[in-house]
Symmetry: C2
Subunit: 514 residues, 2 copies
Amino acid sequence: MSDTSARRRTRGGGGAARRAERTSVSFEVAKYIERNIPLTELLDEEALQIIEANAEIILEEIGVAFTDNPDALNVWKEAGADMSGERVRLPKGLARKLCETAPSQYKQHARNPDRGVVIGGKNLVTAPVYGPPFVRDVNGGRRYATMDDFRKFVKLGYMSKWLHHSGGTVCEPTDVAVNKRHLDMLFAHMTLSDKPFMGSVTDPTRAQDSVEMCEILFGADFVQNNTVMTSLININSPLTFDATMMGALEVYAKAGQACIVSPFIVGGAMAPVSVIGTLTQVLAEVMAGIAYSQLIRPGAPVIFGTFVTSIDMNSGAPTFGTPEASQILYGAGQLARRMGLPFRSGGGLCGSKLPDAQAAYESANTLNAALMGGVNFMLHSCGWLEGGLVASPEKFVMDADQLGTLHKMAAGVRADENAQAMDAIREVGPGGHYLGCAHTQANFKDAFWRTELLDYKPFETWEEEGAQDTVALAANRVAKLLNDYQQPMLDPAITQALEEYVTKKKASQPDAIG
Amino acid sequence: MSDTSARRRTRGGGGAARRAERTSVSFEVAKYIERNIPLTELLDEEALQIIEANAEIILEEIGVAFTDNPDALNVWKEAGADMSGERVRLPKGLARKLCETAPSQYKQHARNPDRGVVIGGKNLVTAPVYGPPFVRDVNGGRRYATMDDFRKFVKLGYMSKWLHHSGGTVCEPTDVAVNKRHLDMLFAHMTLSDKPFMGSVTDPTRAQDSVEMCEILFGADFVQNNTVMTSLININSPLTFDATMMGALEVYAKAGQACIVSPFIVGGAMAPVSVIGTLTQVLAEVMAGIAYSQLIRPGAPVIFGTFVTSIDMNSGAPTFGTPEASQILYGAGQLARRMGLPFRSGGGLCGSKLPDAQAAYESANTLNAALMGGVNFMLHSCGWLEGGLVASPEKFVMDADQLGTLHKMAAGVRADENAQAMDAIREVGPGGHYLGCAHTQANFKDAFWRTELLDYKPFETWEEEGAQDTVALAANRVAKLLNDYQQPMLDPAITQALEEYVTKKKASQPDAIG
């Protein structure tokens, strides 16, 4: 079982602390998953070698484009790349060699020391949905997301036992100007939760703001010497690295902050329609991106990212939870492990518009593949709906409950004398019943994973209570979690300094639109 | 990809055939899944050896009970067991030795030669839900199942591309007397479908009726020399083999017909609350049952069955799609493979009362585990609801659609030159688009699994069309499949002989109740 710790939150010292103590909610939070199970190695050695050889050919013959970024072109030129305009061609082996300085795992600190996560190795860290411009809930239907929604999702994430990470853009707060919303988002993560979080990537200056806010929260010395953010750098597939994302990566790498270097691929549109072809492009892109991060600062923490969906060839819509998406996830995990890099993929991904059976089939397929495929950092673990266009609080708690099953699966199976239960089998014998036996009494509390959401009631009770479906049960749980929520303690001086930073930054420039 | 064959059904020769040809529905049916992927070996060698050693201890020291079955006790005595009343203790190694004559795989024939299935090895054969006394559909709610429901499920199974087997008691037709309903059920499978099916096990005489009806359908010679039924023999866990089930097994084994020898365990009630303890009991029970089948007829085809749920320790309700259930499935698969026996487990199992998100999460978790855990025969693949109390036509088509993803996953990943897609990557280059390139045009038809149910439409279209959830889409598909259904051709003389057999058997005894 993963590391968990009981936790009591208080609001301050002395009398206030004692008062808070009496009324606070005690709850457990899982630290992160440490796998004790074998992974699925879907591709054989021959297929992996083909992909790796072809990725080198892509980098050498086709190359990658670093657009609108003369500094990056200079960096590449000095590193020995073959330059032609914005096209960067990497001699065989160069990218892989440069990637060698990237750490195989790293610790991302949280302001609550118990909430720090180690990303890489056998670990799996779960983070919520990222990026939806819309929100859907049972009461309000589908509408543009606001900063109020954003804060609700951060609170839900804080209250979710099996969620290790507060995430980043849990939804797009469309009621705040695009050039200022990152300030409000970071302030929410920093003050409403004490779990680790992600920085802004939509502009290099916003990445810099993220670093500066972290310096207020953690202290400048601490940030200089430790990783306190993991941020999402999408590659503009195929094979293109734009100045915005690379600018954010440059800021973070220089500051020793972690980046997920992640192709964003709708299969058949931004990559070939074949699994092996897509994996080859993914590997080439990730190697080029991570090599660049190591040119900026050798040893900068990075994650081998892979976000690939399949596509519905009738409508052109991206599709999720499909076999091809799982195959790519498994293969990319193998490629990342062969490079000794942490791996990001998976999540509760689905195409459904509603948190219905389709959403759950698709999400469960992806969550299972992510567990068995060796994902180390799982963005979109919960709350994702409609191909990522929509964040849903009900889906959030539904997926978050399922994350508990991953924890239990990852723990593996104990085979000690107590687990062998031979005394129980002897005691009960043919035709007997185990419910009352000593072994059952001693072990039942931890024997089985327990949902905090799903329905196991007798049919009659369930019917009397209104025959609620999963969405209704989830809506109840959302309301309960938000009602039970208490803000984790933070030094008021830090809160004030963050507020002042946000106010000053907002006042320093006019609102940008779009 | 698994073997599929296009198929046209006709209703007879000459003019009738030509008329039928013009109106018949052409559709593809998958033969069965042949896995080309590595399985998940969850337990390590040490744990497996502990389980195997402890199972021998159970058989030798505790023994198993064969109740109300003096003939079985005589068989065991002659085989060298240590007898004490109805308790049968098996000296170390005896059960395993007896199991060695059971085949590692066998072919179950269907009346349509193209629909025969090979059970064992790398194969996965899917069969629908088995046993629910209730039916729930969107129109009628939850009610007792009838023979009319039964026929609908057989038709849905016949029309489902990814379902290889027609199953057995797809629901309990409660409007027919318990001692006669097996006749109507078999007649439905034999005449409304041409896929393989299961025989009756609720009484040895009904097993005999099943054999006799098969002799009419296939010819007596054919049935003597071939396996035409796979039937479900549940063990009365813990460690008890009752006379009804063993009587049915005796009939089938003597006739060379296949049996699934399957512990039926609600974990914590009929087995210890630990995974290893439960697996140990499962192995002991299966070894004893299969050893007995081989004493009846060496070489009789059998399947190592495992049906284990976890339990909600608050309500005592069985729970599905949980990590412990998956762990047991994975472990049991390993034990079965070490014995060289076909393995049955899994299915679209869920505890939910409705075909909602809970049902889908739970079902997907089990379906994924069944694929990766090496299941060879998957009963309850589709249609299962509310812990098996309810059969649902909507859930049937929802799960059946997901079975398509298992086919694609099982096929593995091709790495040939076309799959490598290097020409496409060269053609498109950085910043390009793959939708129009030659490789995409040549490959898109088979590139991605295609749902026949789920929604990928643009949001606006979906909303205009009524914002249908998965249940609504499934209800549409159920109606379409039943509307498109055409009965597969069968020699009218055989149909008549089967009808006469059923009529005669029904007239030979009064209705039994309960």
